[in-house]
Structures are given as structure tokens and as C-alpha cells.
């Protein structure tokens, strides 16, 4: 195991190094920690992984494994195990030979190789296919062999580049659990790259959200989800992402009205809003919006457009509706709410959704950066879904 420290690491490509894949990334990964690099395609997460493996040289910055500077070390001197997206198993070798290759290359005695390969095969449940070639294995078995090949050498650092992306949905979920089990067993420092937020949130000790070669947020899965650092993280993490509306606010009676009455917040938000200026970006996750009889802190008026029935819940797609608008405005901001499947709303109907104050995130309208807000915080799971349909709230003007 080793601590990984990246100091101001950049990677540029092109003849004049004009294309930045990674820009000024600094990150510390603790011993035995499971860190997931999460981001859209082309955000630089795989490049970071390849630089950690020694397959790419950083243009600038330093990479440390413990107290050893790794910048000029070749891949074989780094004690790194890596799992590639397409497994990269040697197709002409049996499972045994695939697992044993690294040990043989390092001159480990035959008896030790045999023992460790069989132990690893048993740990990963591929003992019965140890004499098979990769093409005779299922996707899940190939994945396990790739994991085993990287782990059998007892690497100090374990790198995984979207290892589950080639598996079907059921197998992916199964392998996700398997990965968590293996990590708890071997406790090796792990860096895992994915664009799948489910993998990131379920596997990681910490998630590193990246975009455009830069780190946007580092935090626990709970932090990244509940307290996004900026509008990119808010929109990217979560499926669907957080609703984000940039609106003008004004004080209205006992509360605060935004977007000409489309959104109503309690007065406790006033200090933050005053610091933000006249415009602010408001974020609420779809599952925090509901139709509740319970007295709500936050109210959102919208015009329903259409629904997606996803079995366990229904996704309402709507547009914000100001009190001044006579009819639905096709240019007003979009909204997605995750409602109970029993909810029955007509398309075009005006609906008032509610949310607890803790569900609201406020971002600077110019920079998109999250603003410190004492209202913001975790929402208890019980308030995420509001199965009650409050017909009395329909068409009631916001006051």
C-alpha cells in the first residue's frame, strides 16, 4: 500500500503541447483508500490514471508514491496493478498463465507462483476455469481474471480504468459488489476511473469529480451528492441531475419570491441571497421535489409537460410557471421531479411542488460556485418521496 500525492500535475498533448488533457491537478490519496475519478468523456480522468501507471509522462508537476518521486520511474518500477476497460488479457495464454505472467517476469519461484495463482483464482471464483483461454470465458470471468492478474503481484497501488463498462447491467451490479468485497479484503490503495456515477457513489471512499482536465470537487459520495461545489457537479452527479434555475429574487411578504413567483423560499435564505446579488442559481434535486400536504418551506410552481413511468417512480418533466404568466411559457426553465407512480397529473396542468429548505443549494449566477448557506444540508431519505398527491395545492397561487 502507498499514499499517492499528485502536486500540480498537468498533461499537454500536441506538437507545441497546446492541448491540455489534465491541468494543474493536485490530489492526495491515502493508504488503502478507494478513490473514484468521475467525469464525462474527455475530462482527463484516464490520463491521470495512465500517468500514475507510468504509461504517460506528466508535462508538469510531481507524482509521489509514499516518499518516492515517480515521475521518471518506468511502469514496472512502480508496483502498480492496472485493470483496463477491455480487460487486456493475453488471448493466447490460459487463465493460469495470465495470472502468473507478472510473477514469472519478476522471477518469482515456481512453487510460489503456483500457490499465489491458485489462491487468487479461488478468491475471485475462477478456479474452475484456470486452464481455459480468455475467449472461452464469460465477460464476468474475464473481468475477474483481469482483477486477479493485477492483484496477484501484491501491488502498492491498484488502478482501474472503467473496468465494468463492458458488462451488462446485472453483471455490473454484481461485479460492483465483488469489487467492494475484494477491496475490503486486500485494502490496497485504489484509483478507479468511471463516468458511471452509481459506481462512483457506491464504491468510493472519496469521489473526485473532473471536467475539462481539472478537478471540480473532491469529497465523500455523500458530500458530492448533497453539497455540490458548483453547478457542473450538481448537474453531473445524480440521475437526472439537479434542477438548476438562474432566477431574479425579491422579498415578498414573509418569504422570498424568485422568478416572478415561480419559486418561493423562506426568509432564512435572505443573507445568502443578498450576498449573491439580484440573480442567483437555485438547485433542487428531482427526488426532493414532491407534492406534500405537510407544510413546506419551499414551493415551486410549474406547468406539467410529460411523464416517464419508470416503475418504482414517475418522472415529471415540467417548466417553471411564474404567477404573472397567463399561460404556460415554453421558454421558462425546465424542471424534473421524481414522484410517486400513483401521482396522476394531466399534461399542461399547473402544479405546485414542495421541498424542504435543506434541499435547496444556491450557486453564484456568474461563476456557478456553491454559496455557503446555513439552510443547505443532507435531506433525510423519508422526505425524498412524497407519495401524497395534494390536489388542494393545485392551481393555488403562490402567496
Amino acid at each position: 500500500m502507498a499514499e499517492i500525492v499528485m502536486k500540480n500535475v498537468s498533461k499537454h498533448y500536441g506538437k507545441k503541447e497546446e492541448k491540455a488533457a489534465v491541468e494543474d491537478v493536485s490530489l492526495t490519496i491515502g493508504e488503502g483508500e478507494f478513490v473514484v475519478l468521475l467525469g464525462p468523456s474527455g475530462c482527463g480522468k484516464t490520463t491521470i490514471l495512465r500517468m500514475l501507471a507510468g504509461l504517460e509522462d506528466p508535462t508538469a508537476g510531481e507524482i509521489w508514491f509514499g516518499d518516492r518521486l515517480m515521475n521518471d520511474q518506468p511502469p514496472d518500477a512502480r508496483s502498480v496493478g492496472m485493470v483496463f476497460q477491455n480487460y487486456a488479457l493475453y488471448p493466447h495464454m490460459t487463465v493460469y498463465d495470465n495470472l502468473a505472467f507478472g510473477l514469472k517476469a519478476r522471477g518469482v519461484p515456481k512453487a510460489t507462483i503456483k500457490r499465489r495463482v491458485h489462491e487468487m483464482a479461488e478468491l475471485l471464483g475462477v478456479g474452475s476455469v484456470i486452464s481455459h483461454r480468455p475467449k472461452e470465458l464469460s465477460g464476468g470471468q474475464r473481468q475477474r481474471v483481469a482483477l486477479g492478474r493485477a492483484l496477484v503481484r501484491d501491488p502498492a497501488v491498484f488502478l482501474m480504468d472503467e473496468p465494468l463498462s463492458n458488462l451488462d447491467a446485472n453483471l455490473r451490479e454484481q461485479m460492483r459488489l465483488e469489487l467492494a468485497r475484494i477491496h475490503s479484503h486486500v485494502k490496497v490503495t485504489t484509483v478507479y476511473v468511471t463516468h458511471d456515477q452509481n459506481e462512483a457513489l457506491t464504491l468510493a471512499d472519496r469521489v473526485v469529480v473532473m471536467d475539462g482536465g481539472r478537478i471540480r470537487q473532491v469529497g465523500t459520495p455523500g458530500d458530492v451528492y448533497a453539497k455540490p461545489a458548483d453547478t457542473f457537479v450538481a448537474g453531473f452527479v445524480g440521475s437526472p441531475g439537479m434542477n438548476l434555475w438562474t432566477l431574479e429574487w425579491e422579498e415578498a411578504g414573509e418569504g422570498i419570491s424568485l422568478g416572478n413567483g415561480a419559486l418561493q423560499l423562506p426568509r432564512s435564505f435572505l443573507p445568502v441571497l443578498e450576498a449573491a446579488g439580484r440573480n442567483v442559481t437555485v438547485g433542487i434535486r428531482p427526488e426532493h421535489l414532491g407534492m406534500s400536504l405537510v407544510k413546506a418551506d419551499v414551493k415551486v410552481a410549474c406547468n406539467a409537460e410529460f411523464f416517464e413511468n419508470l416503475g418504482s417512480h414517475t418522472q415529471l418533466h415540467a417548466r417553471l410557471a411564474s404567477t404573472q404568466a397567463e399561460s404556460p411559457d415554453s421558454d421558462s426553465p425546465r424542471l424534473v421531479a421524481r414522484l410517486d407512480p400513483a401521482a396522476s397529473i394531466d399534461s399542461g396542468e399547473r402544479v405546485i411542488l414542495t421541498a424542504p429548505a435543506g434541499a435547496v443549494s444556491l450557486f453564484d449566477a456568474g461563476t456557478g460556485v456553491c454559496m455557503e448557506d446555513e439552510n443547505a444540508g443532507y435531506i433525510d431519505s423519508a422526505s425524498r418521496y412524497s407519495p401524497l398527491v395534494d390536489s388542494t395545492l393545485r392551481d393555488r397561487p403562490l402567496t
Binding site: P75, D76, A88, F307, N309, T314, L339, A342, D346
Partner: protein, 333 residues
């Protein structure tokens, strides 16, 4: 339109399996006519290539087989069936047996030299390309260039290079402190000289074939081998070599066939203005050259046909043996 979020309960007796197929627009032509039309188009596309093969390959090959059992002359209409007499003559003909040995010598040297040199150059070029060295593309073109030049023209240049009195080859040897050689005038060195020319001329093709094979080796496998701690020679021996074995097999096969059929360079390098290719003292008389000389110099067409069939049998046998070995050694993904 009203859209409800709840799923409507199906009424009793609903057929859940009913599935109305989507109707596709069909051609107005009857099915049989369309099939006939497709066949005609297919045969029409095959016709030019088939005609060339039949006219210039299968008919001459069949005729060759026919005349090998006859006493036949291109200048005479009188043909006489002689059975296996032509083959019996060959068995008792020392020059024919000598030509087979010469061809075997040529092939045995050419195949490993071709594989080792072309693979070595291909690996160097691949390394140059992957490390983005300047001029890698130019080198690749330069290696392939000899193969696209006419073999007769380049062979004449090589005759000058191997001139024992003022050729470049002896100039280099003497400057290296080595004795000058007789090259094409020497019984021992004439065939090696021809082999050097043949290698120089054919190497470009095999380098390109190996480059194609090397490009099929996934980059991830090489990277994972590096991460596994394998050294360069281990990566080559344990990863690259097995994965390019189909390419190697193809190169060996092609090189074997080309070696047994080698003619132009031998004829151009050893013939000279006075004729008598295959010298000195038949040192470069390969089977293919002897076939030509028997047919067109000595005008024993039936005997040449029998020789050709023996040559065909040898190449066929070698190919089948190689195939048998490859099925056990070569790894196909």
C-alpha cells in the same frame, strides 16, 4: 392530450402476446425474378476475374498436365503418348536433381533471412512510428521502394555491385580488411549473391506485412506486460511473437513459394549477354530456371512440363506441411 402517470390496468382477456408486425414495402417484382436477377448480378461481377483465371491459369495448367505425358513440340503437330517416360528421364537426370538441391539451398537460406530481417526492420519502424520519431514515414517508404522497382533492372545494378574487379561489394570488403570475393563468377558465391539481391528486392513487401501484423497487437497488451514487469525481450517472446504468429506463418508460406519459383533475378544476374543463365557451372541453376531452359532453350516442352509438375508437387507438399505445423503452433484470435 391527457397523460396520466398511473399505468392503466389491462382489461380481462387482454392478449399480451399480440404483436402486429410492421409491414415493409416490398419490391413489385416477383420473388423468383428477383432471385434470378441477384444471381445474374453476382455471376456478372465474378465473370472478369473468373475468365482471367480460366484462360491464363487453369487451361494452361491443365494443358501442362496433358503434355507431361506426351512427347510434344510447339513446332510440330506430331504428339506421342509416352506415359511416365518424362518423369523417368527426370529421375535419372543429374542436372535436375542438382537444380532441386540448388532451389532447396536458396529456399532454406531465404526463409529465415526473410523472416528475421523483415521482422527486425518492422519492429524498428514500429518503434520509430510509436515514439513519433521524425522521418519514420520516409523510412517506411524507403524500405518498400525496392519491391516496386523492376526486378530485372535492380538485378543489373546488383551485377555491377558484385563485379569482382570494380564492384562496390568487394570495395567494402577490402576496406574492412576482408578478402575480395568472386561473387557471380564464383561457384560458391554466385548463389549467395543472388540471395542478397532477392532479399534486398523482396524485403520491403514482408516488412509491410509484418508492420500490419504488429499493428494488430493491442496496445493495452504491451502496456499491461510492461506493468507486469516484463522486459523488452520478454514482451517480444511471450506477447508479440505469439500474437503475430499468423503473420509469420503467412510470410513463411509466401517466401517459400516465391523462393521455389525464383527466376527473374537469377536469369538477369547470371545470364549476361552470352546467355547461359544458371552459371557458373550450374551453381545458380534452380528448378524454375531449368524448366525455362528445358522448354525454351532446348525445346523439350514435355520434359519441362514434367519438371513443373514436380516443382508444383514440392511446393504443394511444403505448403501442406507448413499448414499442418501452423495448426499446432500458430495462434489465431
Amino acid at each position: 392530450m391527457t397523460v396520466t402517470a398511473t399505468t392503466t390496468s389491462p382489461t380481462r382477456g387482454t392478449d399480451y402476446t399480440s404483436n402486429t408486425p410492421v409491414k415493409r414495402r416490398r419490391s413489385v417484382l416477383p420473388l423468383q425474378f428477383r432471385r434470378l436477377q441477384d444471381r445474374l448480378v453476382a455471376y456478372g461481377l465474378m465473370l472478369p476475374a473468373t475468365a482471367v483465371f480460366v484462360l491464363f491459369f487453369y487451361i494452361p495448367a491443365a494443358y501442362l498436365l496433358y503434355i507431361s505425358f506426351f512427347h510434344w513440340s510447339v513446332l510440330s503437330s506430331a504428339t506421342k503418348f509416352v506415359g511416365l517416360a518424362n518423369f523417368r528421364i527426370l529421375i535419372h537426370q543429374p542436372l535436375f536433381l542438382h537444380s532441386l538441391l540448388t532451389s532447396a539451398y536458396y529456399t532454406v537460406v531465404m526463409i529465415p533471412a526473410t523472416v528475421l530481417l523483415s521482422l527486425g526492420i518492422a519492429l524498428l519502424l514500429k518503434e520509430a512510428v510509436s515514439s513519433r520519431r521524425r522521418g519514420a514515414g520516409i523510412w517506411r517508404g524507403a524500405v518498400f521502394l525496392p519491391h516496386v522497382t523492376p526486378v530485372v533492372a535492380t538485378s543489373i545494378i546488383w551485377v555491377w555491385i558484385f563485379n569482382p574487379h570494380f564492384g562496390l561489394a568487394n570495395f567494402v570488403l577490402t576496406h574492412m580488411g576482408l578478402p575480395a570475393l568472386g561473387w557471380l563468377e564464383s561457384v560458391h558465391w554466385a548463389l549467395p549473391a543472388v540471395i542478397i539481391d532477392s532479399l534486398w528486392h523482396s524485403l520491403g513487401l514482408y516488412v509491410i506485412i509484418f508492420l500490419a501484423g504488429l499493428s494488430m497487437v493491442p496496445r493495452e497488451l504491451l502496456e499491461v506486460a510492461r506493468l507486469d514487469g516484463a522486459k523488452r525481450y520478454q514482451i517480444f517472446r511471450r506477447v508479440i511473437w505469439p500474437l503475430i504468429s499468423p503473420t509469420t506463418f503467412f510470410v513463411v508460406l509466401l517466401s517459400t513459394i516465391n523462393s521455389w519459383q525464383a527466376f527473374s533475378q537469377i536469369y538477369a544476374m547470371t545470364g549476361g549477354p552470352h546467355g547461359g543463365a544458371g552459371g557458373p557451372a550450374f551453381a545458380t541453376t534452380t528448378d524454375a530456371l531449368l524448366v525455362y531452359q528445358t522448354a525454351f532453350v532446348y525445346e523439350h516442352f514435355s520434359l519441362a512440363a514434367a519438371m513443373s509438375l514436380v516443382l508444383f508437387g514440392i511446393i504443394m507438399t511444403l505448403t501442406l506441411v507448413q499448414k499442418w505445423i501452423s495448426d499446432r503452433v500458430v495462434f489465431y484470435r
